[in-house]
């Protein structure tokens, strides 16, 4: 890519817009997006202090709301509005990505495995980039978030960028994308 307004760049932006619009095309898709967003947010927030989350939830699963609200406050106090905003944005993007991935997987089943092979690495890469800090915590690196650049915000931005690239590449999952030449 040589400039910011190349045909490939424009096509990517158009595909990204199409990818965001796809969940609005049926009630089921909208519901899937909503649920995936909520679940992703809960998992991301709980993974910021895995040992605490596991202890609270194994003792009483109804304390989920306590754990999520307490850790939401901790993420904000530790990383500021940018950190908590990135977590929320990542959850929302994942909601859209999961809905679109479901459609892609269904299409891939009909048309062959090549598309499926194309989306799985994208999802895995984005997921790992975002929750990596939580995984570090689970592995026993105390203060993992604090030692990461910008207290983990760089990692979160990386995850969001990967997801956006994935969504822009796939576009509307009902259509095949043809790269402009």
């Amino acid at each position: 890519m040589t400039g910011t307004d190349t045909p490939a760049h424009r096509a990517w932006l158009r595909d990204l817009r199409d990818a965001f619009v796809y969940p609005l095309t049926s009630n089921g898709r909208l519901l899937t997006t909503g649920i995936a967003t909520g679940v992703t947010y809960v998992v991301l927030v709980l993974s910021t202090f895995p040992q605490f989350s596991v202890q609270v939830l194994t003792r009483d699963p109804t304390d989920l709301a306590y754990a999520v609200t307490a850790l939401t406050r901790e993420v904000y106090l530790g990383t500021g509005w940018l950190g908590i905003g990135l977590v929320a944005a990542y959850a929302l993007l994942t909601g859209v990505a999961v809905t679109n991935a479901v459609a892609l997987v269904r299409r891939a089943r009909r048309t062959g495995a090549s598309t499926l092979a194309g989306i799985v690495p994208g999802l895995l890469a984005a997921g790992c980039a975002s929750c990596g800090a939580g995984v570090l915590g689970a592995l026993g690196f105390v203060g993992a978030m604090a030692v990461l650049p910008f207290e983990g915000n760089l990692l979160r931005i990386g995850g969001i960028a990967l997801l956006a690239i994935f969504l822009g590449r796939a576009g509307d999952p009902r259509t095949c994308s043809i790269d402009p030449t």
Partner: protein, 245 residues
Amino acid sequence: MEPEDNITRRRALLAGGGTIAFGGAVAYFASRSESDEQEYVPDTFHTSEKTTGFGVELAGRPIVGEPSAPVDVYYWTDYLCPFCKRFETETLPDVGRDYVDAGEARVITLSYPNIGEYSTPSAVWGRCVWEQVADNDPAAFWRWHGAAFDAQSESGHDWADEETFTSITEQTESVSVADVDACRQERGDAIRESIDTDAATAQSAGIRGTPGFVLYNRESDAAGKIVGAQPYDNFADALDRIREA
């Protein structure tokens, strides 16, 4: 029934409203400060030079409660840790009233610097304040300790520096900044070593973040672990179980 695969105005509004509600809920819980903030100043304090059956060195560490209390609560903390502040203001006052002041448990404050650059220096401040007041006015340490957590700011760890901790110390009655400074200069290395010992004990106990706790029944040698600012009921249950163990 609306046609499938169409973007209806209703769905667009629903998606927009849902996104705003999601963002609003996150912002609400992020900015909601602890409502029932209390400060706990214990009734009884003591010092000890022993090492407990669990392997925790007590020399120089602030201890609250009766020496004869059957349960030890090892409390690893960091003055820069917001989750520790939540424990201090929401749970510790009730645990203190129901268990420490009642002679059922004693709390040993240990350092586990893990949040920011000033975590270790702030722990050294704490130890030096305790050294100055442990014999004559131990409650002064808890006033200082509470003021240090009160000083935490809403954004980042930049608030924690020499200036802030000097000012907290100056404002705490019965604590001399000059004496605390002398302790930091002369005994700094030894105190940092003992802070490393605390952190190593936490790691070997499997504590992976602050606040972290080990509850230990000194008679039966039974121990249990609690991590994070959990609700009071969780602490009360765990303390009851360890006491009976």
